[in-house]
Symmetry: C2
Subunit: 219 residues, 2 copies
DNA sequence: CAATTATTCAAGTGATTTATTGAATAAAGG
DNA sequence: CCTTTATTCAATAAATCACTTGAATAATTG
């Protein structure tokens, strides 16, 4: 193989992988699957995609070795192929949020609207983890909590939040977290809780970021 | 801004960045610019692009905050906007080479053809760096060497290699490096040198990877 | 075994991306 | 000031991508 042919093959292969990621619907699917496996139906519920369209996107991801699938009864469950990819995806989002001014601005406006601008970083969380005056709250759907959650967190899905309000003390600071920086669940939780007089902040990132960091630390 | 709108804005912004990278010509340009700034003409010489086409690709990269430009006389010099992006690009290439089977295969076949399969990693290089029996050889064009090179390397551009052969000792092991894992210069150097009876291996990666690692270590 | 359900397939259309071509700028030199 | 040179702009055609629609599979249930 000549030098030019080799280069063309390598850059085309790399571009193919990038093309698989270069689509908003697929990025959202990737984020969904970072929380754990989901059926096509599960993906559809959480997005604004039609079934056929979601299936097509999932197949693109599968053909590019980003997700894998497993069949069970009627359902086909999709999940991210490995943690290496999750690390890459998180690097991409982190870069985008900190270096692309427009994205940073959109993110901050969203958090501002929900009184969630004063967020907590993972570093800070690690330092607070043994503080008994802090309550760590996972506001994702309970299936996702059950699939994996930050050590010490309690599960309070958004659907239960309003009716459970009285269970929490107003003296204890609440840290809410969800799927990651692009997920709005924690923002909504912060809005509701702070409007009801609770001391609350959101975690900058989400469960997948915590998980990746934990993987690295235990090596 | 509603939750759905916010998500759409974030994922669309992320996808836009990914689209800018999801093209073989632009990936090659990014790799070129990792070696230092280049004019449009400079980019054209190193690729198979026409001038107008290269200019268009450079503008896509510029509009996505990946490269910046500076004007000097007739020329417009382009360079990567910061080291953050270089880190991301290297994460992408590293992931692709180790997780995408087809790319790994193409890379290994290329190295096999050039007797360069037995390559040296950056880790190994660090350990050998003080060994007087090892000669570290930068085979990129001399402009790129002058812009920055691995400490202790000598510059032997491919154009000079054949006529300089007699200057090197056959007892001393040679480590050749170039722009990175996708660059064929070091492979070609290994082929020539080993056919002439030298002990030679190539570095797995290239100058940009060494530079990124060095940045991190000095922090 | 027929009906139901989750998913995939296939075809078609509109939108986006890419490379090419030739003309237009803009800076430098004679 | 005219010519040369490097780069950019604008218009086009070909290729690819994304979403929709409706039908086809394949596993499960009554």
């Amino acid at each position: 193989m000549k030098g030019r042919e080799f280069k063309d093959a390598m850059y085309e292969g790399l571009a193919k992988l990038m093309r698989a990621i270069a689509n908003p619907a697929r990025l959202e699917i990737i984020e969904m699957l970072s929380q754990g496996e989901k059926s096509v139906e599960g993906v559809v519920e959480a997005t604004s995609l039609t079934v056929a369209n979601a299936s097509q996107h999932l197949q693109v991801l599968k053909n590019n070795n980003i997700v894998k699938s497993r069949k069970e009864g009627h359902y086909v469950f999709y999940s991210l192929i490995n943690n290496e990819f999750m690390g890459l995806y998180q690097h991409i989002t982190k870069y985008a949020v900190s270096e692309i001014a427009e994205l940073e601005k959109t993110l901050n406006r969203q958090r501002d609207d929900n009184h969630a601008l004063n967020s907590v970083s993972l570093d800070e969380l690690e330092r607070m983890i043994n503080d008994k005056n802090v309550l760590l709250m996972d506001v994702r759907p309970s299936v996702e909590y059950e699939f994996g959650h930050i050590t010490g967190a309690i599960s309070v899905p958004m659907s239960d939040l309003l009716c459970c309000l009285k269970d929490f003390s107003k003296d204890r600071e609440i840290i809410a977290y969800c799927r990651g920086p692009f997920c709005v669940l924690a923002d909504e939780a912060v809005k509701i809780l702070s409007e009801n007089g609770y001391k609350v902040r959101r975690l900058d990132e989400g469960y997948p970021e915590w998980k990746m960091r934990h993987l690295h630390e235990s090596n």
